[in-house]
Symmetry: C2
C-alpha cells in the first residue's frame, strides 16, 4: 500500500513536472514571438543593459568614484528610470529630470538656508511647512492638462528633489554638496541614457507616428478594395463570408486616438532626424489621423451590411453593383496612393484621378437610384438596405476627399518632396531624378 | 528726446507688466476652475503633502533617524512616486514597489556574495556581467503585454534595486544592511502613501469606472431622447439646428476604450469597499463599455443625418416620423433606465418595457416602409435617406438589447440588489423595503 502510494506520488510529481515544463516552454515561445514580432525590442533591452553597465563604471573606477561617492547611485537610478523605447520619450524624460532636479535642488538649498536662520528649534517646523506647501502645490499643478501632457514627470521629479534636499539638509549640513552631487549624477545618467538611445539604432517615435498614420489609411484601403468583391460577388454562390475576416483590419483604427495623441506629444521632444525636422507638423498628423478615424466609422457602418446575417437578395444588390464597386475600389486606391506617398514622403498630385473616378461613379449611382431602384416595389426593405450602402459609399467619398486634403496640407507643411511631373513623356531624362529636380511650391 | 525715450520705455514696461499680470490672473482662474471642476483634486494635493510631511518625520525625530539614517530619504522618494489620485493606482504601485524591492534586494545581495568569491580582480567584471544580463532580461520582460498591464512599475523597480544593491555593494561592504534599509524604508513609504490614500476621502477607481460606464449610457440616451425632436420637428420651421450641439455629448464615448481598459486594470488592485467586492466583475464592465461604444458608432452614423446640410424634405421625413420618434425615445429611455439601475446598483427588470415598445414601433416602421415609402417615386434619393435613418434605428434597438443583456449579466455577477417586485399593489408593506426583502436569483 505504501509502495502504491509512492508510485502515485511519483506519477503525480511527474505530471506536475511536465505541466511546469509545458508552462516554461510556452513562456519561452511567447518571449521568442515577442522578439520576432519586433526585433527592436531585443535591441532596446541590450541598449538599456549597456547604458546601466556604462554608468555603473562610476563605481568601479577609483578616480570616478572619488568624485561622486555613493551619490553615483543616482546615475544608475536615472538611467533605469529615463531610458524608454523611443527617442522622444527618453529625451522628454531626460530633460524633465535634469531641469526639474536643477531647479528643485536650488530651491531646496534656499529653503534650507532660510530655515536655519530660525534656529534649531524652529528649523524642522519651518522645513516641514515648506515641504507641505510645495508638495501640495506641485501635486495640484500635475492636474493642469497642458502640464500633464509634457511635464508630468518633471513635476514629479521636482517634488521629489525638493523634499529630499530640504529635508535631508536638516541632518547633513553639506546640503549644497548634496544638491550638486544629485544634480551632476542625474545629468550624467540622463545624458548616458539619451546618448545610447539616440546613437545606437534609435527608434524615433515621430517615424512610428508617421508610419501608423499611413498604415491606418492602408487598412481602410484594404477594406474598400475588398468590399466590392465580398459584398456583391461572393454572396452569389450563397456561401458564408469567411473571407471577410481578412477585411477587419480597420477595426483597430476605431480606437487609435489615444495612442496617436501620446505619440505626437512625445515626437515634439525629438530633434531633427532624417527628413523629419525639429518642428515637424505633428499636429497635422493628428488631423489626418482624426479624419481617417472618421472614415473608419463609416466603414464600420458599411461592414454591418457586409457581415449581416440577413443579406439583401442578389437581384436587388445587382442594381447598384456596377458603380458601387467602382466607388469602393477607387476610394481604396486613392487612400492607398495617399499612404504610399506618405511613406515615401513625396507630394502626391493634388487632383487625384481615383477620387474623380469615384465621383463620376457616384453620379451614375445616384442616377441608378433615381431611375430604377424603387421599381422593385415589392421588396422595399431590401431596396432601402441597398440604398443605405450607396449612401455610405457617398459619405466615404467625402471622407476620402477630406483625408486627401489634409494629407496634402501635411505634405506641404512637412516639405515632402515633389514628384517629377510627367508632363512630357517624350523627353527622357530618367537619369536626373535626384532631389534637386523639384518644383518648389512655396518658392 | 531722451525723456521721450524714457516715457516710451515706461509705457512699454507698463504694457509688459500688464500683460504679465493678465497672464498670472488667467493662470489663477484656470487653477480655480480645475479645483472647482473636481474638488477631489485639492483634497488629493493636500493628502500627498500630508503623506510627505509624515515620512519626513523620520528625519526630524532623533530615535527614528538613528534607526535609518540617510536611507530615510527612500521613504520620501517612495511616497512621492507611489501616491496616485486613486486607491487602485496607489495600491498597485505600492505593492509593485515593495515586492520588487524585496526580491531584487535579496538577489542583489546574493550576486554580491557570489562576486566577492572571485576575488578583488574578478569582482567588478562579474558584477558588471550580472547587471548587464539582468537589465537586459528585465527590460525585455516589460514588453510582455500581461506584465506591462499590471507589473510594469514593479519590473522597473526590480531593475533599479538590483543594479543599485549589487553595484554599490562593490564599494560598501555592508551590503546586507543597505538592502534591509532600502527595503524597510520603501515599505514605510509605500504603507504611508497607501494608508493616507485609503483612509482620507479615498477615490476608488472602481467607482470611477462604474460611474463612467453609466455616464456613457446616459450620453447615448440623451442623444436618442433628443433625436426625434431635433430631426423631425425643428426642421419644420426651417431653422438651422443650433440646439443639436447639446446632443453631441456621445462623441466622447467613441474614443473611451483606452481609459476604460486602464481603469479596469487598476480597479483590480482595490480591496472590497462599500458594495464593491474584491473580485468585482470588472471585465464585465468592459464588455458593457464595448457594447455601449458600438452603439455610439451607430449614433455617430445617425448624427450625420441630423447635422447634414442637405436635409430630406419634411413630407418625406413625415412618412417615418411616428414610429421613428417612438423607437429613438424608447431606446433612450431603456438606456437611461439601465444607467439609473447601475448607479443605484440595483437589478433592473429583465424584460424591459421600453425595448418591447421600441420593437413594436420597429414592426410598425417596417410596415410603413413596405407599404408607402416607395410611393414617392419622384424623390428616390430622399426616400433612401429616410430609409437609412430607419435602418439605423433598427440597429440601435439591437444594440440597446445587447447592452441591456450585458448590464443584466453584470448586475447578477456583481450581486446588485433586487428591486422589490411590484406583484401585488394591494398589499401595502412599504415600511419593509430594506436589503433583506430580496428575491435571490442565484439561490
Amino acid at each position: 500500500m505504501s509502495s502504491s502510494n509512492n508510485d502515485h506520488d511519483q506519477v503525480k510529481s511527474a505530471g506536475l513536472f511536465e505541466r511546469l515544463w509545458g508552462k516554461i516552454v510556452k513562456f519561452g515561445l511567447m518571449l521568442k514571438k515577442l522578439g520576432q514580432d519586433d526585433p527592436r525590442r531585443i535591441v532596446h533591452s541590450l541598449k538599456v543593459a549597456l547604458a546601466v553597465t556604462l554608468v555603473s563604471m562610476l563605481f568601479y573606477f577609483e578616480p570616478l568614484y572619488d568624485g561622486f561617492g555613493l551619490a553615483a547611485m543616482w546615475a544608475i537610478l536615472t538611467v533605469v528610470i529615463v531610458f524608454e523605447f523611443t527617442v522622444g520619450a527618453t529625451i522628454g524624460r531626460g530633460l524633465n529630470r535634469m531641469m526639474a532636479t536643477l531647479v528643485a535642488a536650488a530651491l531646496g538649498i534656499g529653503v534650507h538656508r532660510l530655515a536655519t536662520l530660525s534656529g534649531k528649534q524652529g528649523e524642522p517646523i519651518l522645513i516641514a511647512l515648506f515641504v507641505f506647501v510645495e508638495a501640495g502645490i506641485v501635486t495640484f499643478f500635475r492636474f493642469i492638462p497642458q502640464m500633464k501632457a509634457r511635464y508630468d514627470f518633471g513635476l514629479l521629479v521636482f517634488n521629489l528633489t525638493f523634499c529630499l534636499i530640504s529635508v535631508s539638509g536638516y541632518r547633513d549640513d553639506e546640503v549644497i554638496r548634496m544638491g550638486f552631487e544629485r544634480t551632476n549624477t542625474i545629468i550624467i545618467g540622463s545624458c548616458t541614457a539619451v546618448a545610447v538611445c539616440v546613437f545606437i539604432r534609435p527608434v524615433w517615435i515621430g517615424v512610428e507616428l508617421h508610419n501608423q498614420i499611413a498604415t491606418n489609411m492602408e487598412k481602410l484601403a484594404n477594406f474598400l478594395e475588398g468590399f466590392g468583391d465580398e459584398y456583391f460577388i461572393v454572396s452569389e454562390n450563397g456561401q458564408t463570408r469567411d473571407k471577410s475576416s481578412s477585411l477587419q483590419g480597420y477595426k483597430s483604427v476605431l480606437t487609435s486616438k489615444s495612442s496617436e495623441d501620446t505619440m505626437a506629444n512625445l515626437a515634439r521632444w525629438e530633434p531633427g532626424h532624417g527628413r523629419f525636422r525639429f518642428r515637424h507638423p505633428w499636429k497635422q498628423y493628428l488631423k489626418v489621423g482624426t479624419l481617417t478615424r472618421q472614415c473608419a466609422f463609416k466603414i464600420e457602418a458599411l461592414n454591418n451590411y457586409l457581415t449581416s446575417e440577413t443579406q439583401t437578395p442578389q437581384d436587388v444588390k445587382s442594381i447598384i453593383q456596377g458603380p458601387s464597386v467602382v466607388i469602393s475600389s477607387e476610394c481604396g486606391k486613392a487612400l492607398k496612393q495617399l499612404a504610399t506617398s506618405m511613406r515615401k514622403m513625396t507630394k502626391s498630385p493634388s487632383n487625384d484621378p481615383h477620387i474623380a473616378k469615384s465621383k463620376d461613379a457616384a453620379e451614375e449611382l445616384k442616377a441608378v437610384i433615381r431611375s430604377s431602384l424603387c421599381k422593385h416595389q415589392d421588396d422595399s426593405l431590401n431596396i432601402i438596405k441597398d440604398g443605405a450602402v450607396a449612401l455610405l459609399l457617398f459619405e466615404i467619398i467625402t471622407c476620402t476627399e477630406k483625408i486627401s486634403e489634409a494629407a496634402h496640407k501635411l505634405a506641404s507643411q512637412a516639405h515632402f518632396k515633389d514628384v517629377k511631373p510627367r508632363v512630357t513623356p517624350v523627353q527622357e531624362n530618367s537619369g536626373n531624378d535626384g532631389p534637386h529636380h523639384v518644383i518648389t511650391i512655396e518658392g
